[in-house]
């Protein structure tokens, strides 16, 4: 469904007289098979949306090639557009138009007749629990309803490939869980291939067959969530010890079986009352550890074992936590955001001259 090789997108930003080139996407290779649900995960500003806008023909790549739904994105953009649905991050309906009319006009731009889009639109409204909102203005809808309306817009022409850009950003947990079931339905009910960008780990984990991780414009990993997590060395074991003196003993014992620090993951550490470390196959190793601690007379107040998360995967791959990358990645994000405007600045000076 999607085959991309070496996709590059550069933006020029201008600060005073200094012109800088920002490579928002820096050589992306992607392969998505028919019927797959792929999560495109990365911190804000990593190049997710820019990659998506190239694949949906909204912007032309600076370099590289891609075929989407069987057609080249540069040479045959119209053929690509006919076959894909795009649910953008920023919404797609005019706030003071009627929801149903927006959906029908959108469908008619795909060459469908008014009768066809009205029938299909009403079916989709029912499927996405928007019954009775056909005449409602989007400005009077809840965040969750508006997102579902955007999905209806993206599905009105029954595309075989659906792109969703950060579909649940800004939604409350309930609306989010609800939207997840609808996204999962895209494949189970209509057999569509689905490509979702997100910076939420749980979302990528819950929805996708396969996860592609992008960081600073490059793909750093692409595999199933299970396989990605298996690359992380060990389960995180956290032991709560009230007695300060005993914590050193616990740290020593844990240290003898735990993984050494590497790839940005720390080794054994004492954090307040907790002693933490990563152990391969914690289920097998823990009984031995516990009995030796018992023999040493140490009393444990609590034991927690965490399987690796996608955040651990991201940390292992990039040396940064996804959350840190969000906060610390502001440079990248700012660059990508101003990246959308420099042409504006250039054109403006052009217009004023």
């Amino acid at each position: 469904m999607i085959h991309a090789r070496g996709l590059v997108q550069t933006f020029h930003t201008r600060q005073g007289k200094k012109k800088t080139e920002v490579r928002a996407v820096d050589g992306v290779d992607l392969d998505v098979a028919e019927g797959e649900v792929v999560g495109f995960l990365g911190p804000n500003g990593a190049g997710k949306t820019t990659t998506l806008r190239m694949l949906t023909t909204l912007i032309t790549p600076t370099a590289g090639t891609a075929t989407v739904a069987g057609h080249d994105i540069v040479r045959e953009p119209v053929e690509v557009r006919k076959r894909i649905g795009y649910v953008s991050q920023s919404g797609s309906t005019f706030s003071s138009a009627r929801a149903g009319e927006e959906v029908m006009d959108h469908g008619m731009l795909y060459g469908r007749t008014q009768a066809q889009v009205e029938k299909r639109g009403k079916e989709l409204f029912a499927e996405l629990q928007l019954d009775g909102l056909w005449e409602r203005m989007p400005k009077n809808m809840s965040g969750g309803q508006k997102r579902r309306l955007d999905i209806v817009m993206g599905l009105i022409h029954d595309p075989t490939l659906v792109f969703l850009d950060e579909p649940t950003t800004g939604l409350d947990p309930q609306a989010r869980a609800n939207l997840w079931t609808h996204i999962a339905d895209l494949r189970t009910r209509r057999g569509a291939t689905v490509f979702i960008t997100t910076h939420y780990l749980d979302e990528a984990d819950a929805l996708s067959d396969r996860i592609v991780i992008i960081d600073r414009g490059r793909i750093v990993a692409a595999d199933t969530s299970e396989n990605l997590k298996a690359q992380v060395s060990g389960d995180l074991v956290s032991l709560e010890v009230a007695d300060p003196a005993a914590r050193t003993t616990v740290a020593e014992k844990l240290g003898s079986i735990a993984e050494p620090p590497r790839h940005g993951l720390p080794g054994v550490e004492i954090d307040g009352v907790h002693v933490r470390g990563r152990i391969q196959r914690a289920g097998r190793a823990l009984p031995g550890l516990l009995s030796s601690l018992h023999d040493a007379g140490v009393v444990l107040d609590a034991i927690e074992v965490h399987r690796p998360t996608l955040d651990d995967v991201f940390l292992t791959l990039t040396g940064r936590s996804l959350r840190d990358a969000e906060g610390g990645g502001e440079d990248g994000e700012a660059a990508a955001q101003t990246g959308a405007h420099p042409t504006t600045t250039d054109d403006m000076t052009g217009a004023l001259r």
Partner: protein
């Protein structure tokens, strides 16, 4: 220009008209504008009409008013596009296979329809007030007005998608409109000015259009005047539609 193209343009146009009609305040303002000008500014010209080289104040004034409506009304058309862009409407339209020119032409359809209604009211009232103009001349004048109006609306849409900000666009529109208003003889004919100003104003394309519209209404249009007026109107329209289409096609729009 295929059937698909006109169908897509109509879908966009219909959607725009629906939005416009849902906000009748703007429709009414658009209609009252020419009426107010005729009734409140027209009488002021009556005592001056001989000095301006005309015989009938309304025959002189209505064509100028017409071009002014065409240019100024249309220049503000782009502002609504910025709102649409912000809400993701433009991106949603660009992701469909619809022709990029249709996305622009559909919007121009709305602007031209509004302009046509305003023009008919203005010319009709002009006749009621005593304007003396042949029907053929009036039709020709309105057609030229629609051409320059379409050009300005297309340019305004292009500017809107390029700036994407009302705060940036407003001063640009003002910077462009001031010389147009002052150098094209819309309110007073350039011919009453000093020679240097007369020569200078010949560089302003809109002046030739105003001259053509005015002489068409007066019923003594020379071939030369009509040629330059029509040529400029057609050229500006083509250039602006090309620019507008380019911005709809362009990345980041």
């Amino acid at each position: 220009m295929t059937a698909t193209f006109w169908r897509e343009s109509w879908i966009i146009c219909r959607r725009q008209l629906r939005t416009a009609l849902r906000n009748p305040a703007w429709v009414l303002i658009g209609i009252f504008q020419p009426i107010l000008y005729l009734f409140l500014f027209g009488p002021l010209l009556k005592p001056l009409v001989a000095q301006l080289g005309a015989t009938n104040a309304y025959t002189f004034f209505v064509p100028g008013m017409l071009v002014q409506l065409g240019i100024f009304g249309a220049f503000f058309a782009g502002f609504s596009l910025i709102g649409e862009w912000r809400e993701g409407v433009i991106e949603a339209e660009r992701v469909t296979p619809a022709s990029r020119t249709a996305l622009l032409v559909g919007r121009l359809g709305r602007d031209l329809l509004q302009l046509l209604v305003q023009a008919l009211i203005l010319v009709g009232l002009g006749w009621v007030l005593g304007m003396q103009a042949p029907l053929s001349g009036a039709v020709l004048g309105v057609l030229l007005t629609l051409a320059i109006g379409g050009a300005c609306a297309a340019a305004s849409n292009a500017l809107a998608l390029t700036t994407k900000s009302e705060d940036v666009m407003a001063p640009v529109v003002n910077v462009v409109m001031m010389p147009v208003l002052l150098l094209s003889g819309i309110l007073l004919p350039m011919t009453i000015g000093p020679p240097w100003l007369v020569e200078f104003s010949k560089f302003m394309p809109v002046r030739h259009i105003v001259d053509a519209v005015r002489s068409a209404f007066a019923g003594h249009a020379s071939l030369d005047t009509m040629f330059w007026g029509s040529a400029w109107a057609a050229l500006l329209l083509l250039a602006a539609v090309w620019w507008g289409t380019a911005t709809f096609r362009k990345e980041n729009a």
